[in-house]
Structures are given as structure tokens and as C-alpha cells.
Amino acid sequence: MPKLIFRLFFSFVVFVSLFIIVQRFLKPDSFGKYGHYRANSIEDNQISTLYYKGEEKCTSCHQDVYDLKYADLHSEVSCESCHPPKIDANTECEVMPPIIKGSIEFCGQCHTFNKGRVKKGVPQLELNDHYKGENCIDCHNPHAPWELKK
């Protein structure tokens, strides 16, 4: 074998083995367990604060409200749609009660007339014509919308 070819071949082998050795040290433990990524990252993604607790959690204390809501038109609306948790809701809702809204703008998020919303089972209103200036919850019980107070 000519000297030139031998040198070339030799340096190639040296570089490849060096690469393999260095890679062994640098690669994180779980890398490549499922594919070309760090498998432990899946567990990292599972760690995050839970803000929304789910309807079951609310119902464990507020069964009466749930029963009332379930029997009326807002049965599909989950508790936390209208009562979003406060930003640090890792604390229980007894300590930090959720936000309560009932203004015309808030209800209007779903009920303001919009051509893109008609025929979807959600009543559409021209809110300015419908009892000007009052809050929705002054007349309607939000958990049972057809239980009118006035």
C-alpha cells in the first residue's frame, strides 16, 4: 500500500474512533431511547402547574350548583368557562376564589349577534337593544338562564 493512501486511511480511522468516543461522553443518557431526542424531556414536559382543575373538582364541593346547571341550557358549559382560576391557582379555590364575571361584555362573548354564530344552538342577541346598561346577571341566573329574577 502506498504511504500516502495508508496515511489517509489511518487518519480516517483515527477521526472516526475519536468521534465515537467523544459522542459517548457528550450524549445525554436517555438520548435515542425512542428516537433522535432526549427521552427524559417527555417527563420534563409533564411537569407544569395545573391551573384548570376540571369540573369534577368543582362538583366535589358545589354539587347543588352543578345540579342546577345540568338541568338547564348551560349544561354543556363547564364551570371554569365562566369562572377561570386565578393565575396562582395552585392554591385551592377556597383560599383564592375564582373570578366571577356577569357583565354584558362577558356574556356577549358568546351571545352577541354574529353571522358566524347563528344556527349553532347559542341564542344571538343585539345586546344594545336587549336591556340597555344592565348586567345580564341582574335578571338571569347564569346557572339556569331561564330562571328570571325580574
Binding site: R38, P85, K120
Partner: protein, 259 residues
């Protein structure tokens, strides 16, 4: 130019052939390269088979564009409120009588979408919630140069925060515009199907708060799940099917105007 006569005899030919065949058989038995390559072991393969395959169905006949999903997502996943980055958002499509299509999504739909086109000009209007499509053949995963974004064994496209170098290639690669650079952490950010929730048996925040149940989340492998029933009942479509990304977000009632 003359042809070169091959200087070999039959004996040499057989010897070389035998050596080559013997060598390749020996190689296939010993497999010296396998110890350094990253092939998935048999045990982990079995583990993957038993995992769920998450997907989402969106019923456009039910979505009213209230934007509660986008709002809940921001709260649940600490997405910066401003500037306007979204993991999920709602778009309002309005087809005018003259054929023009108006697409609007002010503040991602948070606070309820409002119609800007006068009612007499509207031919039809509908809402389209959008999020990461969790493609089985995700372009963003292929684009990532460092293996920081990946398709998890249960079918969710996730980001490895500690590995991401912030090169933004995945943001350019995503055909759905579902990724963004997080201005706080300076790594790529995207919908994870609320991975911290679904692995604890809860629904993603957007599904939890949807007042009309327009979003259906579930396991595509479980034939009794709500999602599979939704797919059986309705003729669904995915966004940009011509890109062959094998998206796992299925839309019912999708119009051809939706890009």
C-alpha cells in the same frame, strides 16, 4: 481505445466471491455497528404499542368563536399575554357576497370575535379554531437541527426546552403557523395538548372550557373514545392534506376557504 483484458482466472473469481459472501454473513451475525447506532430496542417498542395516540376533533358547526379556548390556553401554559403569541387561537372567516374572503383574528379571538363586515354583504361566516396539528410526519421535527423537537411515542409533538438553541427553523417549517419564539424563555414554544394535563387523565384546558363542546379530545387507538365516535359520525378533514403531514387535528364542516 482498446479494452483491458481482465487478468484473473476462475479460481481467483470463486475465492473473491466466497470471501465477500462469507464476510457479509459474518457481518450480519456480529453487527458491529449496532452497538454505536441509535436503533430502538425491542422492549421500548412494546412499551410504545400500549401507549395512547392523542388527537383532537373540532366541530366547526358548534364553534361560536368566543375565544375562551385561547384565553384558557394562555393561562394554563403561561403563554405571554403580550405581544400576541398563541398556542391556540380562533379565526373568523367571512365570505362576502362578491366572493372576497375576510379572515380576522383580533387578539386570537380572546374576548369574543366581532364581525367587521356589514351584515348585508355577508354570504356566509364561520369560526375556525387553530392549534398545532401534531402531525405524525411533522415538518418541524425534520427541520430541527439538534433534536429538540420531536414526536413523542403517544403522538404529541413536544419541545425540549433545555436542548432548543432558538434557531427558529421549526417556526419557518411549520405549514400551520402554530409555533412561535417565546419572548421570555427564548426557545420555540407550541401547543403540547396540555401534556401535563392529559398525562394526569385531565382534558386539555381549551377542551375543558369550550362552552359548546366544539373541541373533542381523545385517544385515537381507543375505539370507544369520544374522539373516535366523533370521527365515525362526521366526515372530517385535516388542514392542508396535500402536504401529507398526517395531521391529528380533524375538522368537521371545513370549508374550502380555510387556508
Amino acid at each position: 481505445m482498446g479494452t483491458k483484458k481482465i487478468k484473473t482466472n476462475r479460481r481467483n473469481f470463486f475465492q473473491t466471491s466466497a470471501a465477500l459472501i462469507g464476510g457479509s454473513i459474518l457481518y450480519s451475525i456480529l453487527k458491529p455497528i449496532d452497538s454505536i447506532s441509535q436503533s430502538i430496542e425491542e422492549e421500548t417498542k412494546d412499551e410504545i404499542v400500549n401507549l395512547p395516540l392523542w388527537g383532537m376533533g373540532i366541530d366547526l358547526h358548534k364553534c361560536v368563536g368566543c375565544g375562551k379556548c385561547a384565553e384558557a390556553c394562555k393561562l394554563e401554559n403561561n403563554v405571554p399575554r403580550e405581544p400576541f403569541y398563541f398556542r391556540t387561537w380562533v379565526e373568523q372567516y367571512t365570505v362576502k357576497k362578491d366572493g372576497d374572503v375576510v379572515i380576522e383574528s383580533p387578539n386570537g379571538g380572546i374576548g369574543g370575535l366581532k364581525q367587521s363586515v356589514p351584515i348585508e354583504d355577508i354570504f356566509k361566516s364561520f369560526m375556525v379554531p387553530k392549534l398545532c396539528n401534531h402531525c405524525s410526519k411533522a415538518p418541524c421535527v425534520q427541520a430541527c437541527p439538534v433534536g429538540a423537537t420531536y414526536l413523542s411515542p403517544d403522538g404529541v409533538v413536544l419541545v425540549d426546552d433545555t436542548y432548543c438553541i432558538g434557531c427558529s427553523y421549526c417556526i419557518q417549517a411549520c405549514p400551520y403557523g402554530a409555533r412561535f419564539m417565546n419572548p421570555v424563555t427564548h426557545v420555540a414554544d407550541k401547543c403540547t395538548f396540555c401534556y401535563h394535563r392529559i398525562t394526569k387523565g385531565l382534558q386539555p384546558a381549551c377542551v375543558e372550557v369550550c362552552p359548546t363542546d366544539a373541541r373533542i379530545f381523545g385517544n385515537l387507538k381507543d375505539k370507544k373514545s369520544d374522539l373516535v365516535k366523533f370521527l365515525q359520525k362526521n366526515p372530517t378533514q385535516v388542514l392542508k392534506p396535500h402536504l401529507n403531514t398526517k395531521s391529528k387535528v380533524f375538522y368537521n364542516g371545513l370549508s374550502s376557504e380555510v387556508k
